[in-house]
């Protein structure tokens, strides 16, 4: 018996098809808007990645050596590769730059999860400062999910700058545990830390409101403004909410002003996407600038990553109708030409060169297909008895 390494899995059959359909839908949607497909190596040099990841993330890297004895890790993050590529292959005058990718990423799993390999789709938009970028990426992402039959995904928006401003006046020994509690979503610990420190009443009131500032976008923004005033991060969020609302995507939006993401390079709006029964998000992303600085780029970028398997498990969209097409002694040229006609009318055909049509029908049943096609008669038959024929 052939055993797989623990924490990995083979994708095939219906699941493989669904994952591929999702990958293609995302690629089609984003590449239609100028996002260029990007393929990064499966390894990243530890010397380049190490100082760009926070400690908790570093502990999840899976180290390997190349045949040239270079210390690497299995690719754990695509953003670093994307930024490095864009900074070295394009001049500043060519910005903004857009790219999208799909591929495996590797991180040691956090229990109870067991897989260390995940297939991720992502996109990066580099070199545009305004809110248009946030709206563009979020809208394309939601459109893709709708095309995949995921009709009620929820994008939860937060803002890294909002949290930084809220903690700005605090001493480091106060701000650090508070930020860590928000990042780890340990709100009980957050309030407990607040009680430990002597803070002015107004500051305490504001800070203790942060974990409650979530839900309906307009209502949450109003509440936040009443406590924090008109701040740039809130203005950023307001513009995004307004623009997505105008695109008919308002009902897919929630705000969570306590939202903090694992990687520390985020600097502006951040988001996570939820749908279906999964307890954790399908993925997320946000705006970042610190990482660009490390590559000598001035400005901001925006990126996100989504777990393709998780998205595929929620996808309801139907692809082409699968069918076995019996060639019945036709020459390969004629059989392929006639199959092309069926493909053009929405079938996905698997050619059967068997002599007898019963063999082709049996193959269709074995595959679990609902249809078989007689290419000699140019007719498609539904497999259940008494069902329709299509010529």
């Amino acid at each position: 018996m052939s055993r797989l390494p623990k924490g990995t899995r083979t994708l095939g059959g219906n699941e493989g098809e669904r994952v591929e359909r999702c990958r293609r839908t995302f690629f089609d949607t984003f590449s239609a808007y100028g996002y260029v497909p990007f393929f990064a190596p499966g390894l990243q040099l530890l010397e380049s990645a190490w100082d760009k990841f926070p400690t908790g993330f570093r502990r999840r890297l899976i180290p390997v050596y190349t045949p040239a004895s270079e210390a690497c890790c299995l690719r754990a993050d695509m953003t670093l590769a994307a930024v490095a590529y864009l900074s070295t292959h394009y001049s500043p005058q060519e910005r903004p730059l857009r790219l999208c990718y799909a591929g495996p990423l590797y991180r040691a799993p956090i229990p109870p999860e067991t897989d260390f390999e995940r297939i991720q789709f992502g996109a990066e938009l580099l070199g545009w400062e305004g809110e248009g970028a946030d709206v563009e990426v979020t809208a394309l992402l939601l459109r893709s999910l709708r095309q995949l039959g995921i009709h009620s995904p929820v994008v939860v928006l937060g803002h890294a700058g909002f949290l930084r401003e809220a903690m700005a006046g605090l001493e480091r020994h106060i701000a650090t545990p508070l930020m860590r509690s928000l990042l780890e979503r340990r709100y009980e610990a957050y309030f407990s830390s607040l009680e430990d420190f002597h803070l002015p009443k107004t500051v305490r009131k504001r800070l203790s409101s942060i974990p409650r500032l979530r839900g309906n976008a307009e209502k949450t923004l109003d509440e936040a403004r009443s406590l924090f005033g008109e701040t740039l991060p809130l203005r950023d969020l307001e513009l995004i909410v307004q623009a997505l609302g105008e695109l008919g995507l308002g009902e897919n939006l929630r705000l969570d002003l306590a939202l903090a993401r694992e990687l520390e390079y985020y600097s502006g709006p951040v988001f996570e996407i939820f749908s279906g029964n999964a307890g954790v998000s399908l993925g997320g992303g946000g705006r970042y600038d610190g990482l660009l600085e490390q590559y000598g780029i001035v400005g901001q970028a925006l990126g996100f990553g989504l777990d393709l398997r998780a998205v595929a498990s929620l996808s309801h969209s139907e692809g082409a109708t699968p069918a076995v097409a019996w060639c019945g002694g036709l020459s390969p040229r004629v059989a392929l030409e006639r199959a092309d006609d069926f493909i053009a009318s929405g079938y996905r055909v698997e050619l059967s060169w068997q002599e007898k049509r019963e063999g082709a029908i049996q193959l269709a049943k074995t595959r679990g297909y609902g249809w078989w096609i007689d290419l000699t008669a140019c007719t498609a038959y539904e497999l259940e008895p008494g069902k329709k024929e299509v010529s």
Binding site: P111, Y187, E188, L194, G279, V280
Partner: protein, 219 residues
């Protein structure tokens, strides 16, 4: 239907008391017989082994749960810790016979290689690793206290409430690792998609606590 996961065993009665304080219907829960899934007035209650409660939340099966801080830490489940109920209070401790306890007062070289029995391998591993002490772990599922007595281990990492079981097995607390109590936790998804319902429940809990102990902070 709002799904709430509760731990079975000793702590269940305390969990039910917390729910009663929040005016959550518990009639059917109290007369559940052997049922592990109980529905009442818009609530679905799942009854799971304490160690499994965070897992049900992590995978989004339960919207909200009452879980011990020991099992939250041990399972490593990704969830949101909303509020400490202060119920089910106990401690995770390192305990051992007095002879072994005295070793921990000296240089760390004296405790290298000790064998530690525990049903919390993750917590125990983190505790010793942070102190640079290399020990050997024996993973047991219960009756941990008898392991040193029978020579299976030198000491144990376990939860202690009154300490009477430790004393009965000639063990003493060597170090407190962490306090344990029952916490309200939710999945990341439910925090976002069922926030109004969660806020209503947690809000009631906060109000009842505020009336009781003057604590004014809560989600």
């Amino acid at each position: 239907m709002f799904t709430l996961c509760l731990p079975t065993g000793r702590v269940l009665e305390e969990a039910i008391e917390v729910l009663q304080e929040l005016d959550i219907p518990t009639g059917r829960l109290k007369e559940r017989g052997r049922s592990l899934v109980v529905q009442e007035e818009g609530f679905r209650f799942l009854l799971a082994k304490p160690m499994d409660v965070p897992v049900y939340v992590h995978y989004g099966i339960a919207d909200l749960a009452l879980a011990g801080s020991d099992v939250i830490w041990e399972t490593g489940a990704s969830l949101v810790e909303l509020r400490d109920t202060g119920r089910g209070a106990c401690r995770i401790v390192l305990a051992g016979p007095r002879k072994v306890a005295s070793l921990f007062l000296g240089h760390e070289s004296q405790v290298m290689g000790l064998r530690v029995a525990t049903k919390y391998p993750r917590i125990a591993e983190e505790y010793f690793a942070e102190r640079g002490i290399q020990v050997e772990f024996v993973h047991l599922n219960g009756s941990i206290e008898m392991a040193p007595r029978l020579g299976l281990s030198d000491c144990i990492v376990d939860i202690v409430q009154t300490g009477s079981t430790l004393r009965a097995n000639a063990l003493a607390v060597i170090a407190e690792i962490a306090p344990v109590s029952l916490k309200f936790v939710s999945s990341h998804k439910s925090l976002q998609l069922a926030w109004d319902a969660i806020e209503e429940i947690i809000g009631k809990f906060s109000s009842s606590k505020k009336a009781g102990d003057g604590n004014d902070e809560a989600v």
